[in-house]
Symmetry: none
Subunit: 295 residues, 2 copies
DNA sequence: CTCGATATGAAACAAGTGTTGCAAATCCTG
DNA sequence: CAGGATTTGCAACACTTGTTTCATATCGAG
């Protein structure tokens, strides 16, 4: 196994000074690290052929308060490996410091981890599937209300620079939905919604489904109400150490989708962007010191 | 997380038929699978905001004898995952080296790194400075046009849930700027702009400065035109492997600011959120539970 | 050997575990 | 809006947990 941190090292280091029973316990722990976190101490002792008390004695011998300290250590290591990332461990490190001042650090570390986890194979496959569906569509309608407006709008904004496929279902005086009037089965609706799910979003999505419009979703859970009605979907984390949910991973997903779509026909994308640049330049939208952008 | 086997599927499958409390428990388990094996049921229930009995009831609802059955299942899954960790790490590295289809992977890794880099001490200090300035303000005006609209709006949206300090300088027919009419030197303008910088944003910011309104900025560079006119600022990366700039780090910054502000008076924030919840509930904005499918 | 110290096993302990039964609250439905 | 069925919170339950205590066993030095 990989390094499990300080406790493991300490066991190895002090192994020679242990009594036979302590060594038996220590050896079992070293060779079955995961079990430490997954079964009770008594069962661990039984499997190691050792008295329960020996496990406690081992902990004290290592300078710890009790066996619980050992378990915490191995739990964290296991969580870390299962996550494939260090977000939680960092969180714990800072837990000792002031609750307030470390918040920013904890939030950023956690966000970084949540986005990194999106690059696991399954997520990538789902991203690709959604991108494929969007690429095949004649027109893409984008729906995201309340907190998800930011993501919906950003996706729509970028897509607008790339062409005229995108229609944003939002607008003053609640007229946004009218966009679906002329939508049909060659079109796709991209729905973005996280818990708590806005009722209106679901209603519009169901309406779209009845009209045979394809539906893809960015949402937060396998049990999101959107899962049942979409052909493809991407799940992203929304948990945060604050009182509200985070939309940063969802925005990242949105940007990746834009990237995948633009990447399908790089030349066409470049041309479209150049035309957009000219348009905006002639309207004097931006400060003239425009740094050229290309890849 | 990835496939955890039968129990997980069964939870998803029967989710719609569950009572609200069961759903809450189920949702927490789905989103924190590892914890099931690593902490006691009572603690799990506490973290899920649910009665201990609800966990037992969930198990029975799924046709299992008791919660212990659930735990066994997730323990096994976790053991398996931890074992396969090394293999997955290799797989992940390989995925990164692929050129074409690896775009999504590269983008996500890069975003993750850009956000992690925001947690360096200097960035944290700047975040804190901006948060302090915002907290001291009587009113916070939020300005972000074009691509930055998403970030501006999201910040404003969250702040609206926390109180009425925030005013979004945007609106139909270009009337958004009118909000600055009554702004004064006790107020602060939060400007968000990245290259290329929208001319209108700079004009409004300069106007605000003439009116002695405090200015803080989220922008992308030390040489951004916003740096010269703001009292405090936060820099975030915008580089991306696509044709466009990324706003994900900027959104992360915005969320951290919201978190820091809400954290200053946690009780007041909680009260405000609760009031917002009640308001939205009475308007029936959200699905309170997943409605059982009619017909 | 014998003595002192250390190591081990077994039993007792409080604390916390998962579960259950019951009453209050909530929700439908007629 | 009453009545019946669900759903929910609460408290008690028997049981297991990790720890501690103490008596016994083991060892090494004289």
């Amino acid at each position: 196994m990989l390094q499990q941190g300080a406790v493991r090292d300490r066991i190895v280091e002090r192994f020679d000074a242990m009594s036979p029973q302590l060594q038996a316990a220590a050896r079992y722990i070293l060779e079955h690290s995961q079990e430490v976190a997954l079964v009770s101490m008594r069962e661990l002792a039984r499997n190691a052929g050792v008295q329960p008390a020996t496990m406690t004695r081992l902990a004290k011998f290592l300078g710890l308060a009790g066996f619980e300290d050992i378990r915490v250590h191995f739990s964290d290591a296991l969580r870390l490996r299962a996550d494939g990332f260090a977000a939680r461990a960092i969180e714990r490190d800072n837990a000792g410091t002031e609750a307030g001042s470390g918040l920013a650090h904890r939030m950023l570390q956690s966000l970084s981890g949540q986005i990194a986890r999106l690059s696991e194979p399954e997520s990538l496959a789902r991203l690709q599937a959604v991108a494929d569906r969007l690429a095949a569509a004649r027109r893409v309608y984008v729906l995201g209300l309340r907190s998800c407006h930011s993501v919906a709008w950003h996706f729509h904004y970028v897509m607008t620079l790339l062409g005229d496929k995108s229609v944003h279902l939002d607008g003053p005086a609640g007229t946004g939905v009218d966009g679906l009037l002329r939508a049909g089965d060659q079109d796709v609706l991209l729905v973005i919604s996280i818990s708590p799910y806005a009722l209106q979003t679901l209603e519009i999505a169901r309406l779209a489904r009845e009209k045979k419009i394809g539906i893809v979703a960015i949402t937060d859970s396998e049990v999101s109400p959107l899962i049942g009605i979409s052909e493809a979907s991407i799940l992203c984390a929304t948990e945060s150490q604050t009182f509200f949910h985070t939309l940063t991973p969802a925005l990242a997903v949105s940007e990746v989708l834009c990237g995948l779509l633009a990447n399908r026909d790089r030349q066409a994308s470049l041309d479209a962007l150049q035309r957009a640049d000219q348009h905006l330049a002639s309207l004097n939208i931006y400060t003239n010191t425009i740094p050229p952008r290309r890849i």
